[in-house]
């Protein structure tokens, strides 16, 4: 067996990188999509639920009250673009591109290159069927801010060492 297979502490998921959350409070690579929540620039009560599917790049965007996004007609709206841009910050361009099955955009202007590559493929616009699921996943994500810290030992985390990225 190769060593990686025989290591209890083999690294599987690379650590996320810090990013500003004001515009896009939530992104995730899940359910075969890059999906997340984008805050409205004009109305603090409103958020957009946006997604891009792996493989087909089928995209969708609408508000949490299930109104369609005016900008998402025929091509990526600004919310979808912001979603991709922030995902590239959080996960790194390589991981986002692999998940979406898009061409590796390299490191220079990665988000713009990735977006250009996908829009050039004329992606279809999907329905907003998954918006409810994504929004509840966002609420579940927010609920993690509300669990109180504890001081009893948590030995299971010994399997999850932190990872300092060395430049």
């Amino acid at each position: 067996m190769p060593d990686w297979e025989r290591a209890s502490l083999a690294r599987v998921v690379p650590p996320a990188r810090p990013r500003k959350l004001a515009k896009v409070p939530f992104v995730e690579l899940a359910d075969g999509r890059l999906q997340g929540v984008v805050s409205s620039g004009s109305d603090i009560e409103r958020v957009y639920v946006s997604s891009v599917a792996s493989g087909t790049f089928e995209f969708s965007c609408g508000t949490n009250n299930n109104r369609p996004c005016g900008g998402a007609r025929g091509s990526f709206c600004n919310h979808v673009r912001a979603l991709i841009t922030e995902a590239v910050v959080q996960y790194g361009p390589g991981r986002v591109a692999r998940y979406l099955k898009a061409d590796d955009p390299g490191d220079e202007d990665a988000a713009a290159t990735l977006i250009a590559g996908m829009t050039a493929a004329r992606p279809p616009q999907g329905d907003r069927g998954s918006a409810g699921t994504v929004f509840s996943r966002f609420l579940r994500h927010l609920a993690y801010t509300e669990f109180a810290p504890a001081t009893a030992p948590l030995p299971e985390l010994q399997w999850f060492p932190t990872a300092r990225a060395e430049a």
């Binding site: 025989r6 810090p18 004001a22 990872a163 990225a165």
Partner: protein
């Protein structure tokens, strides 16, 4: 320390690990329709626990599993067999470490634990783990993996079940990444996932995670350093320290921790901000101070159940001086029976007169150990370069991947021509460092956004 003992072979280790590997291969293919290769792997596990109290139950479970007819109790028996085997590996490694450090271990028997957990939640967790074992790493699909989410959501609010919740949450996230698009096919962290799977199953046994009994301890606490562990949605900062009991007697090695579930965007300095208000010891580490404890609860395994009200800041204390002078006289804690696993080994050691090579290995008295400088927190000053330039080090001796390894906690090095101590947890209590302050500001902004969004959206429902 006799480093030479750490590079010598440990008798019986390879044989035990071969049986573990054989079983771990079984989980890759899954146990829905097991073939002859898997039957062999199951037999290898059962054979390795022959002569132990688990022998007949493991053999029975192996036979049923090989026939594709394993029930949940059989999966549990297999997990127990594997856990016992790695427990023996742990014991052999710890006894070798004891020879190398020359320190005594606490021998007192631990009292039993108290309380029980709600069976329905434990059963739900067990069902999911059994589904995962039937599918195997190769057969995992999105639906099977997603089955963990409701279980984790139900477990998390109960602090008594948090250990299981945090384990399943981290495990499921890795399985999801592996079952998702773009994951490399056919390549799995076999040992790791079998570890997490088996540990999860063991924790579903009622009573396995009940809170440990404690006694009160009074004395001076001298920090050695901070070990930070985290996955996307949980974090723990654990301070390793030496306690000098006020009543006299030998000093003992102890740990104090704070942990919490968290959103995946709370990282770096945000982790310190989350834990800092619950563990004043982090500030003491940053300030290079001891703390005075008054009747602080401590378990038989040396885990302080930290309570800020029972600790006051003490005199300045340098972790390297503590490691140099007090550590050799300190007694190591015993390990809780279920925690006997090589991944759980973290023994404080002091090293000097070593060299660190370009490849990150450390050579001391002619023996070479890998150094895990990457285990230092991102929000902290302990870089690989600082480790490389250091002349003395307090660290945690660990074991993984077939070798002992060193995780530096704090090093003595030269900064601007002056001797300085640089520690992994130096920013834990806050920092005046420029880069550190920037990270603190960014993390505080992120936390503000999250709590604003939570306040506005969560409570609407």
């Amino acid at each position: 320390m006799r480093a030479d003992l750490l590079t010598d072979a440990v008798a019986g280790l390879e044989a035990a690990l071969e049986a573990v590997d054989a079983f771990d291969q079984v989980l890759a293919a899954g146990l829905l329709r097991p073939g002859p290769a898997q039957a062999a792997g199951l037999t290898a596990l059962a054979g390795a626990v022959t002569g132990t109290p688990l022998a007949s139950r493991t053999a029975e479970a192996a036979e049923k599993a090989a026939g594709g007819a394993a029930a949940e109790d059989d999966f549990l028996a297999l997990a127990a067999g594997r856990t016992a085997l790695l427990g023996s590996v742990h014991d052999a490694l710890m006894s070798r470490i004891g020879e190398a450090t020359g320190r005594e271990s606490v021998t007192e028997e631990a009292p039993g634990s108290a309380g029980a957990s709600p069976a329905n939640l434990l059963n739900a967790a067990r069902s999911w783990l059994c589904d995962v074992a039937r599918a195997g790493w190769q057969g995992l699909d999105r639906e099977t993996v997603a089955g963990a989410a409701p279980v984790v959501s139900a477990l998390l609010p109960d602090t008594g079940l948090r250990r299981l919740a945090v384990l399943l949450d981290g495990f499921a996230a890795e399985l999801a990444a592996s079952a998702g698009p773009g994951a490399p096919a056919g390549r799995f962290p076999l040992r790791r996932w079998a570890d997490l799977w088996a540990r999860g199953l063991i924790l579903t046994v009622p009573g396995a995670i009940s809170p440990p009994r404690t006694s009160g301890v009074t004395g001076r606490l001298l920090p050695l350093g901070v070990d930070l562990t985290e996955h996307a949605t949980a974090v723990q900062a654990q301070v390793h320290a030496i306690l000098e009991p006020a009543v006299g007697g030998p000093p003992r090695l102890v740990r104090a921790a704070a942990s919490a579930p968290k959103p995946d965007t709370v990282i770096g300095a945000g982790l310190w901000q989350l834990l800092r208000p619950h563990l004043s010891l982090l500030a003491a580490v940053s300030e290079g101070r001891s703390m005075d404890l008054e009747d602080m609860p401590v378990t038989a395994e040396g885990d302080l159940i930290w309570d800020d009200a029972r600790a006051t800041p003490g005199e300045p204390a340098d972790p390297l001086a503590t490691a140099r002078v007090t550590l050799p006289t300190a007694a190591d804690p015993r390990t809780a029976p279920l925690d006997r696993h090589p991944a759980r080994i973290a023994v404080p050691v002091f090293l000097e007169a070593y060299t660190v090579a370009e490849d990150g290995t450390c050579t001391v008295t002619g023996c070479t150990l890998p150094v895990d400088a990457g285990r230092a927190p991102a929000a902290g000053p302990l870089t690989a370069a600082a480790v490389k330039a250091s002349t003395a080090c307090v660290g945690l001796l660990r074991w993984d991947d077939g070798t002992f390894r060193l995780q530096p906690l704090a090093v003595e090095t030269t900064v601007k021509k002056r001797k300085a101590v640089v520690g992994a947890g130096d920013w834990g209590g806050g920092t005046a460092d420029k880069a550190g302050l920037r990270a603190e500001k960014a993390a505080a902004d992120a936390r503000t956004v999250l709590s604003e969004r939570a306040g506005r959206l969560l409570r609407k429902r």
